[in-house]
């Protein structure tokens, strides 16, 4: 987000939703099912409520800093050093997350469609697309994302509806899955699914209607929760948990079960086409956020050169993992705990401390300009 980019409420909601939805397309439902088993639906409802509570706190904490993002707040809290540290942490978060995501997705589509194509070629195709749209400017892909997301959301619902005939409802039993402690205590770590909240730290200066921040935050979390529920339900009711853990792109495999008579038996490629567009959009947004933070902390005005630099970094980072097990390790435990650390610990700590400092300085409810 360059400072001159203004985003409407609908665009912002889809922006936050895009993180969750694209991770749903990749492996998120499978990872949740792995943790909480047949209690995943309960767990999702639970973590959605927790996420709503977190968002409520976030809105409260940002109340004293209207029009400021987390970088500005950290500058207020600890001056330039803290601004740099927080900026670099978030840049690394966006960059590493997207590179792992990119590699994982490319490995999956290589397996499905391009067995004889080197993964490097697929990565480069994505990177070229991302560079091009970033050069066009933030407005372009944020608006494009707004057009794409409804189609992606519908595609997930369609997979759910068209697979109703394949559902085995008994798979939701036992309701508490691996037990109440796993569902509600260790299962809280599934909160990483709401990593899209990270965007909320950077939205305040970009919203066309800043008073809509609260609505944007709550709506996006509720919609994320609903779609996570749909996707996890689809997987839970179709696949036995043993199969679920083996497959990459589980939702894609769920789409393979869809058939209409003898004529239309394999519509999965259509879904994949929609998701490829969505993933390009997601990766473009992630890179744009990294670039925005970088520009903000360095005040470097030539954006093209940063785009090329970050694109090379994205490509190199995505090429680093040697094999699928490394990718899986980075994609699940590393991404999960890094997300939890950055989004829910670092961000919150900064905001709480900044609020305390503000109270100490102002001794009241005045706002920071």
């Amino acid at each position: 987000m360059s400072s001159d980019t203004k985003i409407g409420s609908v665009e912002s909601i889809f922006l936050i939703l895009t993180v969750m939805i694209n991770h749903i397309i990749l492996n998120l439902p499978k990872n949740i099912l792995e943790t909480t088993g047949s209690a995943s639906l309960l767990n999702i409802i639970f973590i959605t409520l927790v996420a709503l509570g977190i968002v409520y706190l976030l809105c409260k904490l940002f109340k004293r800093f209207p029009g400021l993002d987390i970088i500005d707040v950290s500058h207020f809290l600890g001056g330039k050093p803290l601004k740099y540290i927080i900026g670099i942490l978030f840049i690394l978060y966006f960059l590493i997350t997207s590179s792992i995501f990119l590699r994982s997705f490319c490995e999956s589509i290589k397996l499905i469609f391009f067995q004889r194509t080197p993964v490097f070629f697929l990565l480069v195709l994505f990177v070229i697309g991302i560079v091009y749209v970033n050069k066009l400017g933030n407005n372009s892909f944020i608006r494009a994302n707004t057009l794409i997301m409804p189609i992606v959301l519908i595609s997930i619902i369609l997979i759910f509806i068209f697979n109703l005939q394949n559902f085995t409802l008994e798979r939701m039993f036992p309701v508490f899955g691996k037990g109440i402690p796993t569902t509600f205590f260790s299962g809280i770590s599934n909160l990483f699914a709401f990593a899209g909240i990270a965007f909320l730290y950077f939205l305040p200066p970009s919203l066309t209607q800043p008073n809509q921040y609260r609505t944007v935050a709550f709506t996006s979390v509720i919609l994320s929760g609903i779609w996570l529920l749909f996707s996890v339900a689809t997987l839970l009711y179709i696949f036995p948990s043993v199969v679920t853990t083996d497959e990459s792109l589980p939702l894609y495999f769920a789409s393979r079960y869809i058939e209409f008579g003898r004529f239309f038996q394999r519509l999965d490629a259509i879904f994949l086409l929609i998701w490829i567009i969505s993933i390009t959009s997601y990766l473009s947004i992630m890179m744009s956020f990294s670039i925005h933070i970088f520009r903000k902390i360095t005040e470097f005005k030539y954006v093209y050169i940063i785009i090329y630099g970050f694109a090379i970094a994205l490509l190199v980072l995505s090429l680093l993992p040697q094999n699928m097990s490394q990718i899986y390790f980075l994609e699940y435990p590393v991404y999960k705990y890094y997300s939890l650390f950055i989004v829910f610990i670092v961000g919150f700590t900064i905001l709480i401390l900044a609020n305390l400092k503000h109270r100490k300085l102002k001794k009241g409810d005045a706002i920071i300009e």
């Binding site: 697929l122 697309g129 091009y132 372009s140 608006r143 494009a144 239309f264 999965d268 567009i277 954006v303």
Partner: protein, 571 residues
């Protein structure tokens, strides 16, 4: 130097420095305009000449300026003007072929040259306006004889005569078909409207045919075109401003808008761009379109062109601005969004159900034109599982004897189709259908029989071709046809992955475009209020209450909340 600039454009572009006009914002700096105007006035200061009192000097100046010795159609007619029984030397300047000679003979030369009641009347030289007597002293208010006023009021039985003192204004009039009258001792000249050149009469539209709707189209003459608009709008708020473009051609353009509807910023921006064109000549609206568009980089048209006055006025009522170019039967409508390019003038005349059905078809046609060949190549090369098994068998069987790869096959056929289309347009019209039949039927059949291409490919290319004709706007259809080749390439390189990434980039390009400050994909991206019948599909006529939100017009509503008052009127 060029290499340096190339690298600079790749790496060191500061997006903030690019021109970005947003509707409703006071984004363009008025001081810049002033600076430009000052510069312009300096440029032309040396050329501005006033009319001399001596007729000989004027005559010489005109003859030199117009090169009358070699210019065959420039006519300088010298004669003597009779006014109050006195004779003055005078000359008329006009361009043969652009004036009505009968008008000049009967209403300019006759009243001025021949003796008649008006010019032979000898009254008092000084005209007493009022008289008052005080203390036996008579005070008279006298108006002295003024030959200019006398000629204007008594000798010209003409409806449009103007006094001009600058040669540049006089020449502009003469160049557009007026005649100029210079009279000895006067430091002004008369600019008399005697236009009378041959022009095409109003005809039916050739390229935007509708079934239920007006059957008249713009012609080349700008005045006829403005009258066509006036005849529909019937409002004193319709403003038609003239701007001449081209340092040499001085082509007349008319900026039309409804002053109590159109956004002031929009009107100012249109005029700003038109007034700041450094071209020598302007020959067509197509040229002008390219000169005033935000960007020409992606071949996406951002200004709508139409030959239909009803379509133009529909947009005028919405609050848009239209520009007419003299000598061109197309007007430009700005700003334009993607929806406008997929809408047909027929939509206004049809019931909303029919119009929406057609709009749905056009949307399908758009996707087919852009994506079908690319999808075909992607599916046959990478995603065969998508094709039902029976169809896959017949498809493979039909390709069995074809020796070429699919990409070669499809490119050959697509290019052949474009050739047939182009040839059909260029050949004389009676031969057009023959070209189509020979090209499409005979060649296609022969190509299949010779196993050069597969029959399924002929079907794909034919469907794509037919679909491309369903796109109402020529320029947009052309753009889609061009980008279709890119998607063929994307599909060939990486199947759905290529089409997906390419499709997203294309969507971003569209989202990035603006037409006079209005985002190209409104009301969808950015999301704006599309209620009141301003979305892609149109609402029933009684629900189209609002003008497009993105135009920020002065009047939001285009009709009452209850437009069919007769239905709800209480006795």
């Amino acid at each position: 130097m060029k290499i340096k600039e190339f690298f600079k454009s790749i790496f060191f572009v500061d997006p903030a420095s690019s021109y970005d006009f947003t509707l409703g914002d006071d984004s363009f700096n008025k001081s810049d305009i002033k600076a430009e105007e000052t510069e312009k006035s300096f440029e032309s200061a040396g050329e501005e000449k006033k009319v001399f009192p001596s007729i000989d000097v004027n005559l010489e100046y005109v003859q030199v300026k117009y090169n009358t010795m070699i210019n065959s159609d420039i006519v300088v007619r010298e004669f003597l003007v009779t006014a109050r029984n006195k004779q003055y030397r005078a000359f008329l300047l006009f361009i043969d072929g652009m004036v009505d000679t009968d008008l000049i003979n009967n209403y300019v030369l006759k009243p001025l040259m021949l003796k008649n009641q008006a010019n032979s009347f000898e009254g008092n030289q000084n005209h007493v306006i009022s008289e008052a007597v005080t203390n036996n002293i008579t005070v008279r208010k006298v108006k002295k004889f003024d030959i200019v006023e006398y000629i204007m009021t008594n000798l010209f039985p003409q409806n449009d005569v103007k006094q001009k003192s600058d040669f540049s204004d006089i020449f502009a009039g003469v160049n557009s078909g007026n005649c100029a009258l210079f009279i000895d001792t006067l430091n002004i000249a008369f600019d008399i409207d005697v236009k009378g050149f041959k022009q095409r009469s109003i005809d039916t539209p050739n390229n935007e045919v509708v079934i239920r709707g007006p059957q008249e189209a713009f012609v080349e003459a700008i005045r006829t075109n403005t009258s066509l608009i006036r005849r529909i709008v019937h409002s004193e708020n319709l403003i038609i401003e003239n701007i001449s473009i081209g340092k040499i051609s001085k082509t007349n353009c008319a900026v039309c808008y409804i002053s109590n509807i159109a956004n002031n910023d929009l009107v100012a921006e249109v005029k700003y761009r038109l007034n700041n064109l450094g071209v020598d000549s302007l020959l067509s609206s197509g040229q002008l379109e390219q000169l005033i568009e935000e960007t020409n980089k992606y071949s996406v048209p951002q200004i709508l062109a139409t030959e239909r006055p009803d379509k133009a006025t529909k947009y005028l009522f919405e609050g848009r601005v239209i520009v007419l170019v003299n000598g061109n039967p197309y007007c430009l409508i700005m700003p334009a969004t993607l929806i406008d390019f997929v809408s047909s003038p027929e939509d206004t005349n049809l019931k909303f159900q029919f119009a929406n059905f057609l709009k749905g078809l056009r949307l399908i046609a758009l996707f087919i034109t852009l994506l079908l060949p690319g999808m075909y190549i992607a599916i046959t090369n990478f995603h065969q599982e998508l094709i039902p098994t029976e169809l896959l068998f017949s498809l493979i069987a039909s390709r069995e004897n074809v020796p070429f790869p699919i990409i070669f096959e499809i490119l050959t056929m697509e290019i052949s189709f474009e050739l047939i289309r182009e040839a059909g347009l260029r050949v004389p019209s009676p031969l057009g259908s023959t070209i189509g039949i020979v090209g499409a039927l005979v060649l296609g059949q022969a190509a299949v029989s010779a196993s050069i291409v597969s029959p399924i490919l002929i079907i794909i290319v034919a469907i794509t071709g037919i679909a491309s004709f369903a796109i109402p706007d020529f320029a947009f259809g052309f753009h889609i046809r061009l980008y279709r080749f890119l998607f063929i390439l994307f599909g060939y390189v990486a199947g759905f992955l290529g089409i997906g990434i390419g499709g997203f980039v294309y969507l971003c390009i569209l989202c990035n475009l603006k037409s006079f400050g209005v985002p190209y994909l409104v009301p969808f991206a950015p999301v704006t209020n599309s209620n009141g019948g301003n979305g892609y599909y149109i609402s029933p006529i009684w629900k189209r209450e609002k003008r497009p939100d993105f135009l920020n017009t002065k009047r939001d509503n285009s009709q009452k909340h209850i437009s069919m008052e007769w239905r709800y009127r209480k006795e």
